[in-house]
């Protein structure tokens, strides 16, 4: 297709952008660090310190009230035979791998639908963003119970059709599912990011494609999706990072217990219970660094895979 060839001709490979002088390179490097200076200062002054401290604490016995005591690898060896930790990993992985793709799909579809061309679009977008506004508030805890409880909305609707419901939120086999629904339902943030991404695709591409007689669907596949891949990639990476650290929803809905029977015990919730509930901040820090390694591995995989499907204009 001519559109495609035009697109690829737009995408200049790095080799064609010639660097002429090393002096310009130096200038660019100076500019780079200049632009980066607030971030570097923040990193050194605010971010790195606490991170390093938590790494150090992961090798100590630290109850927050007394100075930490060096215990070497003890926290990490303890983690090996902590069955609840293993369970929390399982719960978290399930949550990440089921709810993130579904949430992103919902966000992308809604972003495409709510992109343009309908009256009242602003209002629709706002309404679809509403659940995300309420996301972690205490009200959600109460609301979720009223929807998924034994006498909740879902069961009332099921009862109307003569189906005997169950306590979705209190049954260990379905409680995690309700949290996944909660997560998917709060797709507002990735949706807005997709919308912003769609806005950045130059209209002229579509105009050119229309002139070539390409159908709407074809335009979606050959223009919208490829040009949106950097944003899809961004959402994927950060939603995965975020989902691995999911805390608030499980905390609020289960009243901080991770129940019933540990079925919504997310990794970060368990970490929090260990740290703040049991005053075992050393162990919590060790858990946090294990989580960091896990997330880093998945992020790395994501970045490596991105070479095959993400298109940049630079």
């Amino acid at each position: 297709m001519s559109v495609l060839s035009e697109l690829s001709s737009l995408k200049r490979s790095k080799s064609t952008v010639k660097r002429k002088m090393t002096r310009a390179d130096k200038q660019e490097e100076r500019a780079g660090f200049l632009f980066l200076s607030p971030w570097i200062v923040g990193l050194v002054a605010i971010t790195i310190g606490p991170m390093a401290a938590s790494l150090y604490l992961s090798f100590t016995d630290y109850n927050m009230l007394q100075p930490p005591e060096w215990v070497g690898l003890e926290n990490f060896t303890r983690m090996l035979d902590d069955a609840r930790l293993l369970n929390s990993l399982k719960v978290t992985f399930l949550f990440v791998f089921i709810s993130v793709p579904l949430q992103l799909l919902a966000a992308l579809v809604l972003a495409l639908v709510l992109d343009r061309g309908l009256r009242g679009m602003n209002l629709y977008r706002s309404i679809y963003y509403l659940p995300s506004l309420l996301g972690g508030s205490v009200a959600i805890a109460v609301l979720w119970r009223q929807i998924f409880g034994t006498e909740g909305l879902i069961n009332q609707v099921l009862g109307f059709f003569g189906i005997q419901g169950q306590g979705w939120i209190s049954d260990p086999s379905t409680a995690l599912g309700t949290l996944m629904i909660l997560n998917i339902w709060t797709f507002g943030a990735p949706m807005i990011i997709f919308l912003a991404g769609l806005r950045q695709i130059p209209v002229m591409y579509y105009e050119a494609a229309s002139m070539d007689g390409a159908s709407k669907l074809r335009q979606l596949w050959t223009i919208t999706i490829p040009l949106l891949t950097p944003i899809i990639f961004f959402n994927l990476v950060l939603q995965i990072i975020g989902a691995f650290q999911s805390f608030t929803q499980a905390f609020v809905v289960s009243g901080g217990t991770g129940g019933p029977a540990d079925s919504t015990m997310f990794y970060t919730l368990y970490l929090y219970q260990k740290g703040f509930g049991n005053f075992d901040m050393g162990y919590a820090s060790a858990m946090a660094w294990l989580l960091l390694v896990i997330i880093a591995i998945f992020t790395l995989i994501n970045f490596m895979a991105s070479k095959f499907w993400v298109f940049y204009d630079d």
Binding site: Y129, Q200, E207, I241, A296, D313
Partner: protein, 306 residues
């Protein structure tokens, strides 16, 4: 502005510049369009109700007497308890508006900080070549991979030693220093989506990096900036944990901290007041969202098309 319009024009594929805009073409198919549009509206409204349910429920709950909130389910209202609003507004040490003001100060500080510092960092990562760029980028991503619960204690110790606890500094300063890697990465992705030709054209015109950044990149990444501003508003407005930890004087409390202090898990909570004030505190966010969207649509899409 003329520079980038011209620059954008140079990037237009041959033959496209004079092409008809899709909106105009749609006129010829109005009848078919309106039918499918109606279907679209109906589907959107039905799903919209599902999305709207929590707000409606909160609204209804905010108008119920405290002890009926849990004994009644559904959205049917039998009485209107407006006193929840008047009582909730005055239930705490200061009128609720005081906490909203505190939140607004932090929110605006954070928005300004994120917009400036994150966009600068993003420009460097996306467009400039310097040593250790990839390593620094990886480090930046790593900073969002640790749960807050293990870094809050060291963070608190730092700010406490600096004498900044119970001020807004621990909540705003980090934003001025681009510690929100989420937004840096977001903007990096957006900048990388902009055609390089724009920068190249400007360079040929003799622009330095500061000018390219302020005159070309920033205006073109309006959607990303709007997204950042909107999200910073909402997330800061709702951020309970760090505001709870760093603010110790009730006069400094913010909306989320104030909302929680209606709650007592072991005895009666003032649920009516809490829901009423939740609704009140949702208003600014909802308005910002509704009107902030206007800026989501400004970007290369409009500049390039005109």
């Amino acid at each position: 502005m003329t520079t980038n319009t011209e620059a954008a024009a140079t990037a237009v594929p041959p033959g496209a510049a004079t092409g008809l805009r899709p909106a105009r073409r749609a006129d010829s198919r109005t009848r078919k369009g309106s039918g499918s549009r109606l279907v679209k509206h109906i589907v959107l409204i039905v799903f919209g109700l599902v999305m709207l349910y929590p707000l409606l429920w909160m609204l209804v709950s905010s108008l119920r007497p405290n002890n009926e909130i849990f004994r009644q389910s559904g959205l049917l209202l039998t009485t209107f308890e407006f006193s929840n609003y008047t009582e909730g507004w005055n239930a705490l040490r200061s009128p609720f508006g005081h906490y909203m003001m505190n939140s607004l100060i932090i929110v605006f500080g954070s928005i300004a900080g994120n917009l400036i510092s994150c966009s600068m960092a993003a420009y460097a990562f996306a467009r400039l070549r310097f040593r250790k760029r990839n390593l620094l980028f990886a480090i930046m991503l790593m900073t969002v991979m640790l749960p807050i619960h293990v870094v809050i204690v060291p963070q608190y110790i730092i700010f406490s030693q600096l004498g900044w606890v119970n001020t807004f500094i621990p909540l705003i300063l980090p934003k001025l220093l681009a510690t929100d890697a989420f937004f840096v990465f977001l903007m990096v992705q957006f900048i990388r989506g902009l055609p390089r030709e724009l920068d190249e054209a400007a360079r040929i015109d003799g622009c330095g990096h500061v000018r390219i950044f302020t005159k070309i990149i920033l205006p073109l990444m309006m959607p990303a900036l709007a997204t950042t501003a909107i999200f910073t508003f909402i997330w800061t407005w709702n951020d309970f944990f760090s505001q709870l930890i760093f603010l110790t004087d009730p006069d400094m409390y913010t909306v989320p901290v104030a909302l929680r202090s209606f709650n007592d898990s072991t005895a009666t909570s003032s649920w009516g007041s809490m829901f009423a004030m939740s609704i009140v505190s949702l208003l600014p966010v909802f308005l910002v969202f509704l009107f902030g969207q206007k800026y989501l649509v400004k970007g290369i899409a409009t500049t390039g098309g005109k």
